[in-house]
Amino acid sequence: MSKVLKIENLRVGIDGKEILKGVDLTIREGEVHALMGPNGSGKSTLSYALAGHPNYEILGGSATLDGQDLLEMEPDERAKAGLFLAFQYPTSIPGVTVANFLRHAVSNVRNPDRKDGEELISMRDFRKEIRSEMDDLGMDPDFARRYLNEGFSGGEKKRAEVLQLAMLRPSFAILDETDSGLDIDAVRVVSEGVNRVAARVGTGVLVITHYERILTYIKPGFVHILFGGKIVEDGGPELVTRLEAEGYDWVREKYPEAARDEETLESSPAH
């Protein structure tokens, strides 16, 4: 039985303002979905809400991972349940090396019953594994000794996110604007990394983007358009082609009510 990430009528607000107004989305393991939409449509809100960011308020609806209620879980429990969010803007943690951080993360995610202070995964096994993953991603071994995201270039940050994805082997991964700020070569390397992990682990992937570029490398079977806080169109790759050719104007014309909401949302914080 493959696992399912199921989002039903999800409504999310921030600072008292409703951003997501009833989102429905179902992703099975192994599937690749793309969530597209113009700026301010609520894409990042969806990813933060699913990962459990404390600033986002759940106003209604549900999100389950294989039947478990995600919304009741702490962020770390969601990670242990098999959810992974590749951040658009990963924060830096000075003084904490990539390796030390990931060793903690891997120890917890692979052994969800581990308590604080209990033994970590063996250094030898961990080192072997991280080296091999970094090698696959074309990363220098010294990278593991750098402080997490501290002074990383845009490309290094995204590569580090994919390295974490590879090490944590989640059932579901949300890639939040993983292509933003990257040149075309970096998009390719990062995308290949995602594809390799997804193929190996069977991860279900949700690619959030407002550009088509990354979707030429990570090919979605399902495409959704988020607009004004709702998914207004579901389809296949043909939706990507249409957006590429026509932009979002036809969406605005087709859904005038959501377009009005879009204007009011413009003044709200980005995420």
């Binding site: 990962a51 459990g52 960011h53 404390p54 600033n55 702490e74 962020p75 770390d76 969601r78 990670a79 242990k80 992974f84 969010l85 951040f87 990963p90 924060t91 943690i93 000075p94 003084g95 904490v96 030390n100 951080f101 990931l102 903690h104 993360a105 917890n108 995610v109 604080d116 202070g117 402080y147 974490q164 944590l168």
Partner: protein
Amino acid sequence: MATDLNAQVEGIKDEYKYGFHDSEANYSFKSGKGLTRETVEQISEMKSEPGWMRDIRLKALEVFWSKPNPTWGGELSELNYNDIRYFMRAADRQGKTWDDVPAEIKNTFDKLGIPEAERKFLAGVGAQYDSEVVYHSLRDDLQKKGVIFTDMDTALREHPDLVREYFGTIIPTHDNKFAALNSAVWSGGSFVYVPAGVKVDIPLQAYFRINAENMGQFERTLILVEEGAQVHYVEGCTAPIYTSESLHSAVVEVLVKKGGRCRYTTIQNWANNIYNLVTKRAVAQEDALMEWVDGNLGSRLTMKYPAVYMTGKGARGEILSIAFAGKGQHQDAGGKVVHAAPYTSSRIISKSISKNGGRASYRGLLKVADGAKGSRSNVVCDALILDPASRSDTYPYIEIDEDDVKIGHEASVSKIGEEQLFYLRSRGLSEGEAATLIVAGFIEPLVKELPMEYAVEMNKLIQLQMEGSVG
């Protein structure tokens, strides 16, 4: 998350695993509480000291009485000098081997891991228990090279000329109230002498343990590093938890002669009922290097500002300070560098963490004297505040009397970031583990300056301070 984090921080227990104590029944001598001229005379007599030392003590006592408590720094109004015992003898003689040490005391040091550390990675060990040093050792090869590492009382008996020449020259009795107090009632502490050109390549360690209640521990340490010599001295300290206060007031004097190097590392982990009021000062002569690595995790109140006076051309001073203030603690720490010669350079790096209502202050003095041309100094102090109940202050004092200098000063205060916590938690780390990792990262730049064994210990202590954050 703000409220979650508050709740978490509220829940942090200040676990202290060194809080056990031994019975005081076997002590061979306890002074009465309070400080009189007779107490001081009695200490001197019990140690069979020469008259000149007795005179130093008695004069110092007058200075102590004449000076008021400092009005800056921490809250001293609850410290009652009349409630303290100023001298206690727990063992009648000092052990050369651990088997010579009374079983109960040896057992305490076993629990603290001292004999084990000695076997593994130390060149010499001194262990002080309340007023006196109960065990001392130094590796044979270093003894043969003329290195002296003993307790101060023994040094006064066996090397009176050296002690008399330098005692109180770097920190005079009248320097401050606590230096005067120490000079009056000092007992124990280390005496280190490293002959010219001798390099002591692995650390000497002194361990200070307060066992008795209402105890005053006043160790007096003097380190003399001759020309081109090198030494690394490490001290650790713990005490049982009592409901009433104890006082630890040390004086540490260090002289590093031309081209010599001294590193002095402290891992202070007193129980939270100890007033830790310490004066530490080093003189670095021409091209000498003095480094203070000062970790303050314990005590109720610490007031300590290790100093380097650079008196010779090209001398260097470095002070790395880590302070962790938890519930009911005030760490008033920092450093003092005085450039009194040309082309001297100094660096102060201070990192403080406050949590659960704790208060950490950085207090620093940078002074460049007229004529100290071409000198440079860099001061960086960073504070991390873990919750809204906690506090951090910075008091940097800068006095520059020379134009041809390069001075840098940076200070930052940050709160533990919600985004950092969320990022780590989204990777499966619990809130407590995430906070611990962030704190460990914050002090990493200093911890990596410690020898491996101490870096491990420091990380463990930090972990312990952060523990209990969940559930």
